[in-house]
Amino acid sequence: MSLLSALARGAEIPIFAATGTRGLALVERLARRPGLRLVASPRHARVLLVAGAVDAAHQRALERLHAQVPPPRGTVWWQAPPLFARGETVAGDDPLPAIRRAAMANDPDQRPDVPPHPWQGMGPHGQGGTGMMGGNPHGRPMAMTAEDIRDGLALDAYTARFGPFLPMLPPGLVMDLTLQGDVIVSAHVASPPFDQGPEGDRPAPCAARMLRLMGIGPRAARARGALLALSKGSGTRRRLSAWLRGEEVTETPEPLPDALPGLEWAEAVLWLASFPPSRLRAACMQGQAA
């Protein structure tokens, strides 16, 4: 082994964690282990870690994530039955040896190398049609201006399906969101968050996840005024303070399609993270049943 590869072995392994059923507490525990680093985008990762079981309905989403980890890439299925034949499965409590092996691996592509949207348009880059914004590059229409709900500035409305493995949203939550700039204009829950069990509602993993989303360390959170960055009136600060004191939070959020419109993206992310996963799941399922 050369000196260079010996040094490289000591480096932190950037992993992207796709959290499944009862995987939230596992990932929060893993985040504290030395030798690896949780990254917020698969493009920055070396290893795709699937923590907790993911149902087959989300297989395509996982495959997309796998494709977005730049090669060479590795995959680890931790306490999760594999949905496609890539990587290694770990049933025990410690995935670190498997992650180290995956960091040496090079998975072949899982998704076929074709555009995700069919090609539409007249010109060689999908351009064409009438007007300045005409044409459907790669089959996706251009965003068009719509009435603004914040301050009257008509911005382009961007509609997309977010989740189920977006690290800033609760794992499993799939939402069809329309955004104007950073303001959520409309929200529709397509799939509720995964069940995280009683383990996921414990104050420690909930507080750790929220602090990680805020980008402040656990020690900094105890400093005076550290939580003042959280918006007032939404209850976010109160719930995080309760978790930091080690108390359970039992509040239930109001239905997401009513609560999210009008919030900025960053506010919405912290608002969602400030509820225990079981309560959020119950609220989403109630909303879907209604």
């Binding site: 494709a67 977005q68 555009p115 459907n136 229409p141 409305a157 399906r161 977010f162």
Partner: protein, 114 residues
């Protein structure tokens, strides 16, 4: 001779540098699904190319309006006494045009402290 050769050499060097940087950054190996926007497994319905409002824009307009005013007023103050009413009329016209920008900023709420 050097006067002609040097710019040409510099231009050629710049072109070579640009091509080299492009080669280094080339990601020819990225697949189609690998290049799709990251939405946690979801797919976008709308193209990612969109207009985004620059929120500091009214403040920038206001700053430029007042700054241009000052830039023109200093030399104007020097020649005002000898030029007389013509200078006053010119400054009035100039301020009139600039005040449109200030009025626009006012309408956009730039004077409201939030």
């Amino acid at each position: 001779m050097t006067h002609i050769a040097m710019p040409i050499i510099l231009v050629l060097l710049a072109i070579a540098f640009t091509i080299a940087i492009q080669r280094i950054g080339a990601q020819g190996s990225a697949t189609w699904p690998g290049r799709a926007p990251f939405l946690g497994g979801g797919l976008p319905e709308t193209h990612a190319w969109q207009r985004f409002h620059v929120r500091y824009y009214p403040m920038a307009v206001l700053f430029i309006a007042f700054e241009m005013e000052m830039m023109f007023m200093y030399p104007w103050a020097v020649v005002y006494v000898e030029t007389g009413p013509v200078a006053l009329a010119e400054m009035g016209m100039f301020l009139g045009i600039l005040s449109i920008g200030i009025l626009y900023g006012w309408r956009e709420g730039v004077f409201r402290w939030q």
